[in-house]
Amino acid sequence: MSKFDDVFKQSLIGRLLQSDRAGTWLLGALLALAVLVPFFNLVIPADSFLHLPTYLVVLMGKYLCYALLALALDLIWGYCGILSLGHGAFFALGGYAMGMHLMRQIGDRGVYGNAELPDFMVFLNWTELPWYWYGFDNFFFAMFMVALVPAALAFVFGWLAFRSRVTGVYLSIITQAMTYALLLAFFRNDMGFGGNNGLTDFKDILGFSLQSDGTRNVLFVLSALSVAGAYVLCRAIVSSKYGRVLVAIRDAESRTRFMGYRVEHFKLFVFVVSAMLAGIAGALYVPQVGIINPGEFSPVNSIEIVIWVAVGGRGTLFGAVIGAIVVNYAKTYFTGAFPEVWLFMLGALFVISTLYLPKGIVGVVNQYRERLAVKNSANKPQELSS
């Protein structure tokens, strides 16, 4: 056991997590989930009270995708001060790339039985596949696009914005405009992405039926591993010197520039990485929920991501994961139990977390622990004297 400990501590991940106890817990929890959830769903028989229903597996998988998205946003907002109000766009683009692959996988099993064209294209009387759909029948090409398309958009957008030093609220507003423009564009039928209805009615992925419990569990495990992997990646980035330059940019952009750092390059890199993570989150999300439509581009969705991070605690990475899961669980619960109340709740959450919880849940917990520590140290001498 101790030997394993040593090896672990010397590995890259081990070194990263040495001073990151919360991160270690998070990774442990994710790995445990990746083992336990399939066990309780697949191995425990359906009539046992220990059995985990499949709908919960899907729901948890969905939360994990949101957690990955929140992680992506925390990387740029928490550490570099870039508040993107358009991160939903990268998520949706990744989702669409995956959706296009799944669409092509349907083949001639669609309503119109056209092996070459997805149903909505047949419906629009299109005769051939648009060029930008080429290649998406290949799984690996599609997976490549899942990361590449968001990255390319982030690169072009970020290159323009950071080079001209668009910062703060201006940047937030134009990221919002970006996702809004994409929302309008994807609503158009002529764009060739299914318009209003988006892409749906998927059948299978790599030959495995999306409806089967096995596939759903595999997707869940992949989501958990992706969150874990992304966490390690983000932790590596923010603990490097590069990460400290990001913090320097967040706290004093001008100073960083006068130290000789090309602020725009540093921002661009992290923005592109974040967009790729968001794209991957979208790609994992789509096969689990079975649909991608332009609604994912809606500016409100993007702002919700921000609130997950804010509630969890920005600039901590694990706070983003916790925030995404807590807020979404609350959303599921309240929209089910008291649909009228949910928007009041969400709105109040925004107001309260910005006014009273600037560091989010993580901040509150830390504060509590510090107070506890102070109390303990205050108690000790008393015990001694008595």
């Binding site: 508040l83 957008f157 323009l160 914005a161 080079r163 001209s164 030093r165 668009v166 703060g168 609220v169 201006y170 937030s172 507003i173 134009i174 919002q176 405009a177 970006m178 809004y180 423009a181 309008l184 564009a185 609503f187 158009r188 500016p299 409100v300 702002i303 921000v306 609130i307 804010a310 009228e340 928007l343 009041f344 969400l346 709105g347 109040a348 959450l349 925004f350 107001v351 977390s353 910005t354 006014l355 600037p358």
Partner: protein, 571 residues
């Protein structure tokens, strides 16, 4: 400072001059109309020979008895040429399929209107109410398409003798649509007696539409000549049709002289129509720009002057729109005036809510713009849900006052609707009032002082907290006023604000933060750009283009079009 102010000031001034000129033109046009209406037209009586041989009852009986189209045609002609006072209503009813006869002996000609128990009928002779009868108790006086055309022409001819300019104009226009040689005498007579220029133009056009089918070249050339005064779309397609070649290279119009004359007139018309299209697009653009201006100008105060990102700005507009709706519920009998009451009411409601938000939340977040953005977004969600809970999630309809409907017709190709016209004027008035408050009043002076140097203003005894609340209230109140205007244009629903918030931010950022002239210029130019792009790209794509343009524009000028310059701005 002076250099930076000249351009927006110049643009503002020239826009005012254009508006004043438009107003002056409108005055002139209305003046000629009233002169025409004042002159009584006495020609109608002498023009028509009364058919003295038969009584009204006899002719009506003949109409009921007539079975064949030709018999009916004869009778209809008789009625039309009679001086029976009922003539016009009867023919109108006949054309609209509302003329029936009872199965009594002898049958009686009646007007029938659908009724749950059959028909509600009234006498065609004297309009006397004859009660409700069963479906099988009456029979319709049937007509076919040929008769329908005849009736339209005849009714038009009768209308040409009307004393009202509007009725005569409408009649002349109807004749243009159904040209037939038999109207020619009536039209010529009408031309000789007509005093209104507008009606005269349409009459000449109607005459031309008939003469163009004549055998005589001179008449046809004269007809084409008459066409040059108009931009009527039917005329244009007629003239264009003449130029079409068939497979052998023969023109549709075989007469070379006529065809060339037509081509020339057509060319002129097209050029003119294009010009008016541009004028119309500009007008549409300006009215869209005015909506943008209204929605953005409140934001220009809260964001531009105070630096507060108020994501609940859209919901301030929504509150204004709902205020309009509530006011209309309170005074259902005075819809025409309710909107006048709604303007100050909306200002107060939204302004008060704004002050509450400022005191309750934003005050604690000054200097943290991103946090402000999130908190106010939360407020916007709460307000939306509140409205949903109180008024239901469904859209509410706000009735437009009658004086907002209708349009100002300048010619065949150009007519400007009053609601668009009013919204342009309204937005300018709001902007002017706002400028007045900011530049000429003591409160405005305090607002400017606080935003420029808070510490200094504080030490001079200005209660900065109070001024902040008031400034924010002013911005929100103006958003409320924008909501009143929006209630006339779109559905009043909980999502009303959401659909305008991004546009408003775009306008403020494009125009340059902290500069009201910039906001004005940005709103108008974006509005016009949008409307000029629409014909080529469609509404959605046009909007996308404008968004992408602004995103790129901000790269070029991160502080907007008319940004304040200087070292101090950066920090």
């Amino acid at each position: 400072m002076d250099n930076a102010m000249t351009l927006p000031r110049y643009i503002f001034r020239s826009a005012l001059i254009v508006l004043l000129a438009m107003a002056a033109l409108a005055q002139a046009d209305m003046a000629t109309d009233s002169v025409v209406q004042g002159a009584q037209i006495e020609s109608a009586d002498s023009a028509i020979e009364a058919s003295a041989e038969m009584s009204v009852e006899e002719v009506f009986a003949e109409l009921i008895a007539a079975r064949s189209t030709s018999a009916k045609t004869d009778t209809i002609q008789k009625i039309a040429n009679s001086d029976f006072p009922q003539a016009q209503t009867v023919l109108q009813a006949l054309q609209e399929g509302e003329l029936y006869y009872t199965k009594a002996k002898p049958p009686v000609l009646v007007f029938a209107v659908n009724h749950p128990d059959g028909y509600s009928i009234s006498s065609a002779l004297n309009g006397e109410d004859l009660g409700v009868v069963g479906l099988r108790d009456v029979r319709k006086v049937s007509i076919n398409n040929a008769l329908r055309n005849l009736l339209r022409g005849l009714l038009a001819e009768m209308a040409l003798r009307s004393e009202s300019v509007d009725v005569r104009l409408q009649a002349a226009k109807n004749l243009i649509r159904s040209p037939a040689e038999e109207y020619l005498p009536a039209i010529e007579k009408a031309i000789a007696n007509e005093t209104s220029d507008k009606v005269l133009v349409s009459l000449r056009l109607a005459e031309g539409m008939i003469n163009i089918n004549s055998d005589e070249q001179t008449k046809r050339l004269a007809a084409i000549e008459a066409f040059s005064d108009t931009l009527d779309s039917d005329v244009m397609s007629l003239l264009a049709g003449m130029q079409i070649q068939d497979a052998d290279g023969n023109y549709q119009e075989s007469d070379e002289v006529v065809r060339l004359a037509a081509a020339e007139v057509l060319r002129d018309m097209k050029a003119q129509a294009q010009l008016y299209k541009i004028v119309e697009n500009t007008f549409f653009g300006l009215s869209l720009g005015s909506v943008l201006l209204l929605t953005a100008v409140g934001l220009a105060i809260t964001f531009g002057v105070m630096g507060v990102i108020n994501m609940a700005h859209g919901e301030m507009m929504m509150l204004g729109a709902y205020t309009t709706y509530v006011i209309q519920l309170i005074m259902p009998n005075y819809i025409d005036y309710s909107i006048i009451v709604a303007i100050p009411a909306a200002f107060l409601v939204s302004g008060l809510v704004g002050i509450i938000i400022e005191r309750g939340i934003i005050r604690h977040l000054y200097g943290r713009p991103l946090e402000t953005l999130l908190a106010t977004f939360g407020v916007s969600l709460i307000l939306q849900q509140a409205v949903r809970s109180i008024f239901s999630p469904l859209n509410k309809s706000v009735t437009a006052p009658s004086w907002l409907s209708g349009s100002w017709e300048i010619n065949g190709a150009l007519s400007l609707t009053y609601n668009r016209l009013y919204i342009i004027v309204f937005s300018l008035v709001v902007l002017a009032l706002l400028l007045f408050v900011l530049k000429k009043t003591f409160v405005g002076l305090q607002m400017r002082a606080v935003t420029q140097n808070r510490a200094m203003a504080n030490s001079m005894g200005i209660r900065t907290g109070w001024v902040d609340a008031l400034t924010f209230g002013l911005g929100s109140g103006i958003a409320g006023i924008a909501g009143v205007a929006l209630s006339q244009l779109t559905n009043v629903g909980p999502n009303l604000g959401q659909s305008y918030i991004i546009d408003s931010f775009m306008v403020v950022v494009f125009g340059g933060v902290g500069n009201l002239f910039g906001t004005f210029f940005a709103a108008m130019s974006l509005g016009v750009a949008n409307k000029f792009l629409e014909p080529f790209a469609g509404a959605v794509l046009a909007k996308i283009f404008v968004l992408v343009f602004i995103i790129l524009f901000i790269q070029w000028r991160p502080r907007g079009l008319f940004a304040l310059k200087g070292r101090f701005v950066e920090d």
